[in-house]
Symmetry: C2
Subunit: 266 residues, 2 copies
């Protein structure tokens, strides 16, 4: 299971302020803390910088790689910012994200060919946000075809089925689980990833919904998560979910996590 | 969703002691606390009493019904103890449990006909513990047939797929989820119930595994749980799981629970 630490995202106010102020110490500390808590990659997003996003991304990638040894997930809808981050990044990076939207795909595919990153591919296209499992699978088919045709190994593709708030649509969760099951069956080498927090948008005590949905996603076959790794309850439940889904023979990873004091119940 | 509070069970040492000492105040308090925490029924088990189990069960049912207004779940493999509890119980009770074992079924079916309780039916028979989803479905078919033939409405049947420790078999969780999905599809009116704790038997930080498995079970269609209702994290995750599984239109129950301060994240 792959954990992408989501906290360095300028949609969060303290991060936007730290980026504005070029507060290296704060941002570096947050990267280190996420890796210590179990993040396998660290997401970096500086959309707040607007038209200066490419130069800020270059700076952000540079300072974060000074302190962590894991790959970064360069997070922007903007091809210029992705390229600035990729060019600065040492080693193989992840990009978040491409979509099936014609213009965006044409803009990012050359970067994928040039830098060979792991690719988060959102299951949406010019028809807009998906409204069913079938919508997602149709877009995923197109994305996988386009990426494979461009020479991307299936193992480097992370499909994001896109999560909508369950407070808006009662089937929001089920659609994603259904799409995940179908995609893992259809493309066993391709990964399925998601950012969890949108599921609980607009509802109270959001962490409880995020955690329960993470458990369901593991059982459906999702194998990568863009999450807050400092949420120890969430991380504990993810380890347990793997064991329960038959993905942790003899529960060895679970027992190891328990012995390391990483599992919390209270 | 039906919650059966599991705490008054003499396999737990403080309960065994309280039963031995006929400590009414302690047992009554535990019943009240479970109902306040959301239990829809309260399980009563006094297997510790051995050959005096019937008389102790009669006493236990009597004192607990003095303080709670919910039905009790009379929990014993012993037909004489079940009958003593049923005879003493005011209103419709639940019994836990019958099985497909020929002798046990023959012993308990007359009680079911006479007292018309809700019936927890364990998916095991004289062939022993089930080893696959198919085993469970085969036994469930026999149990549902026998109960319906005896005049039990399908709505009164709670099939328990029987949970084995995931530390012993990596597929222990998956088998139960698969059986639950199949049983809910085959018998839409019949309920599926389980006691969660066996899943984590022998493993550390058991509550984390129990909670994650509860979430998966809800998604698979399980609609009744024999659990510790004082575990607020578990109860919170169950409410969230219902919303995520599309069983809580507009998340109204979720929002209501949040407003009542019943959902905990930390």
């Amino acid at each position: 299971m792959l954990i992408v630490g989501e906290l360095i995202n300028s949609s969060r106010k303290p991060i936007a302020q730290a980026i504005e102020a070029r507060d290296e110490a704060f941002l570096k500390d947050l990267a280190v803390k996420q890796v210590e808590a179990g993040a396998n990659l660290v997401d970096v997003n500086c959309a707040v910088a607007l038209d200066r996003e490419p130069e800020v991304m270059e700076w952000l990638v540079g300072i974060i790689q000074e302190v962590v040894n894991v790959p970064l997930c360069i997070d922007s809808p903007n091809a210029a910012a992705l390229e600035a981050g990729l060019a600065r990044h040492k080693g193989k990076a992840m990009i978040n994200s491409i979509t099936g939207e014609k213009k965006r795909l044409e803009g990012t595919l050359p970067l994928v060919v040039k830098y060979k990153p792991w690719v988060v591919a959102l299951c949406m296209d010019d028809a807009g946000m998906p409204n069913s499992a079938e919508d997602r699978i149709r877009v995923a088919d197109n994305l996988v075809s386009a990426l494979v045709e461009a020479g991307v190994p299936e193992e480097d593709i992370y499909l994001d089925p896109l999560i909508k708030p369950v407070g808006v649509s009662a089937t929001a969760g089920i659609e994603v689980l259904e799409a995940t099951r179908a995609l893992r069956k259809k493309y066993p080498k391709v990964h399925v990833i998601c950012g969890l927090t949108n599921i609980s948008h607009g509802l109270p005590v959001r962490k409880v919904l995020n955690r329960a949905f993470a458990v369901m996603c593991v059982e459906a076959g999702m194998d990568a998560f863009i999450v807050d790794p400092l949420d120890r309850h969430l991380m504990s439940l993810l380890v347990a979910a793997r064991a329960l889904a038959g993905q942790d023979q003899n529960c060895l990873q679970y027992i190891k996590a328990a012995r390391a004091g990483k599992l919390v119940a209270e």
